[in-house]
Point group: C2
Chain length 204, copies 2
Amino acid sequence: MNHLLPRALNDVIDELGQLPGVGARTAERYAYYLLRAKPTIANKLAGSLERLHTGVKSCPVTFALIDSSMDISPLYSDTSRDKTTIAVVEEPLDIIAIERTGQYQGTYHVLGGAISPIDGVGPEQLHIAELIDRIQNDGVQELIIATNASVEGESTALFLQRHIKEAKVDIKMSRLARGIPVGVDLEYADQITLGHALEGRKEL
Amino acid sequence: MNHLLPRALNDVIDELGQLPGVGARTAERYAYYLLRAKPTIANKLAGSLERLHTGVKSCPVTFALIDSSMDISPLYSDTSRDKTTIAVVEEPLDIIAIERTGQYQGTYHVLGGAISPIDGVGPEQLHIAELIDRIQNDGVQELIIATNASVEGESTALFLQRHIKEAKVDIKMSRLARGIPVGVDLEYADQITLGHALEGRKEL
């Protein structure tokens, strides 16, 4: 709160400052931009923000984000998608990243996070029971575990793998390959990534 | 526009993506944060954005930003501020930067930009005539030209200096010192800054 600025401007700065990674200076820059721009820009954003929570819901099967007016994610209901393959991701936006590759025709399952004892997130907070149900109901044959390459993502992948084996569900499971990202020089790759790249080397 | 995301989420992403320096990925991160957070956060921001343009106006004397309910900037009307000294700045937020130093007791005058032929901004688009009026009405004795250290800021400073001399107004004029910023090593200072630092060296 800066008493030198008009209250209406200050409010916008304070609230934009709550966005992830946005400090006071950045929030000031955003707010001042909106103030100098045509009022329609701020007003359109205001309107969209008001509709954000009412216009979005979770798909009851895949937990992807869908329009409130929809029953089920189009990435699941679409008959051209292969329901016997599921890519398991942490967050809904991860789906977009995989869809951008244009190389995947299966369906998705959003866990809603990763196991993280520090943040109080255990397996029971994730949509794992629903995943087991889907595997049985849809006759799933392959599970691609596409959690993040973080400690939490790795633990979650390991937990899923064990949990599904214990449930005596016999399906193919895989994880996304670890290796050197495209366009990155060897000398800049960290040792763990390089270790994965060696381990997962492809025969020519 | 991403057809894989709910429309309400997409709208927020598109509109946040118009903020300066915010790309698609950053806008996605902001929007997803707002979606996962309590609805009150998005709704409060929406409300503040709606009040932004109606709640803020320009001070008719200093052109600082003030509450719509105010007549004049408190940094001008406050009797403890020295009206015979004016710091001339390009934008309203520059005032905050100077106030943060706690070292200035004069008043301000916002030009509303800097002379920039490329952007079609000439002296007549800036609040220069109003500055000349103030100098005469308030018996101003010192003008601190605090425009930015950019090409446009320098041209504007030069223009102001000449224009005021031509107007036969006899006042002290100064510019903010150029030099090495606090905490920066000599070897990292660019040659122009270092040149200014040499030129403006202080005797001990």
